[in-house]
Subunit: 243 residues, 2 copies
């Protein structure tokens, strides 16, 4: 891991940009190393620079709640090399959503499964590097989307102790089957009126999770309308499980 | 309103039992009258003495969050006169639930609609009396079941500014229609594995509510398994709306 820049935000949060191989990422901490802070990986739909304002706001809240926060650029997003197959699948998804049609299974598979296959090992490698830094330690949480990435990570990575999952993207059938084997505590966010997301599919996914503790928070509003108070609720959930 | 007893609980909460006409009730406050505390009406399935331990625990948390809390015995419950028609409807409901069958519309209507008709005016009369006491004032919340009582109260009583509703009882079709006209902020609790409650009906009711701000908190577990952390979440919701 190579730290490429660091600066203090106005609330005192220390923001460090890094690269891990070719993958850019951002780490936010309090800057204090006196007590190791559990790490929360912030998920997002791809495009670190485009998402930066919202990610930084989430990260400040996460750090204020006593955690470190980190995020990686997704494969095929931002400045990372595009995959022709993923771009075609994304165009097919957009067509289906705009036509108000259900997303065909093969489109969901072509878009999401290669992303999961590539992103999860990168996140696990980032964990190795981030947990070696001073001031970061203890168990790890995942918070955000892409939900299929969070599901796979929660299933295969034993350092993940709890996850806040945003049910805002299409989920392949294979991921629903994986969800049955997830056992860590989950806090699932659903936007009830998400224009491009199948509400029933999200409820079916919530039902499928094998976790003994799972909570669904569904709110009125569209895809980007998650209420501000949910940031606080998610951090309270993580605080119960990451200490 | 006639105060029949008062005592201090070990955490300092002042508990006063009262009667309003023939209806028994309990009021919990901090005991301080320096700053008027918004009032939260605690709903329950009936049987004040049977429910007392759980109600008192909820009330302590409500008072600790800065509110006053009050509850009334429901018509036909506890020591109040039984209605033969309601008892027959309750037996019919139990039969349907035990047989794993859907609750017939007429059973839901016979059980719930007369209860709503009788309970809501009693709760409104209690508000008149309780809000005249020193140390209680501002807007009012409702928290708990029977959800059909909460829906009607939220619809007809302008002093209700927000409601935490427990989706744990059968809901007549007429109440779903009333729900469409409810506009106050809502926080709806659903037990995902509630043995005697139709999950899809609860989701349909949540969908029906007309409120611009509504949040559903669904948790794993049966009817009586609402997680402890939901008490805190409900009070945070009320704190956003009852100040």
């Amino acid at each position: 891991m190579h730290i490429t820049s660091d600066r203090r935000l106005d609330d005192g949060t220390l923001e460090r940009r890094f690269t891990l191989g070719d993958v850019p990422g951002i780490l936010w901490t309090s800057g204090s190393t006196a007590v190791p802070a559990p790490l929360v990986l912030l998920g997002h739909p791809g495009g670190l620079e485009r998402m930066y304002p919202r990610l930084a706001a989430r990260a400040r809240g996460t750090v204020a709640a006593g955690f470190a926060a980190a995020t990686l650029e997704l494969p095929g997003s931002g400045d990372r090399p595009r995959s022709g197959a993923a771009e075609r699948a994304r165009a097919d998804l957009r067509r289906a959503v705009q036509a108000g049609e259900p997303v065909p299974d093969d489109v969901a598979d072509r878009l999401i499964l290669p992303l999961v296959e590539e992103a999860v090992p990168e996140l696990r490698a980032a964990l190795d590097a981030l947990l070696a830094l001073p001031g970061i330690g203890g168990s790890v949480g995942y918070a955000g989307g892409v939900i299929s990435v969070g599901v796979r990570l929660a299933l295969v990575e034993p350092r993940i102790a709890a996850a806040v999952l945003f049910a805002g993207s299409v989920v392949p059938r294979a991921v629903v089957e994986e969800a049955r084997r997830v056992t860590v505590p989950l806090h699932v966010l659903l936007q009830w009126d998400d224009e491009g997301n199948d509400r029933q599919a999200a409820l079916d996914l919530f039902d499928a999770f094998g976790s003994a503790e799972k909570t669904l928070h569904a709110n009125t509003g569209g895809h980007t309308g998650v209420p501000e108070f949910e940031a606080d609720a998610g951090n309270r959930f993580l605080a119960r499980h990451l200490r």
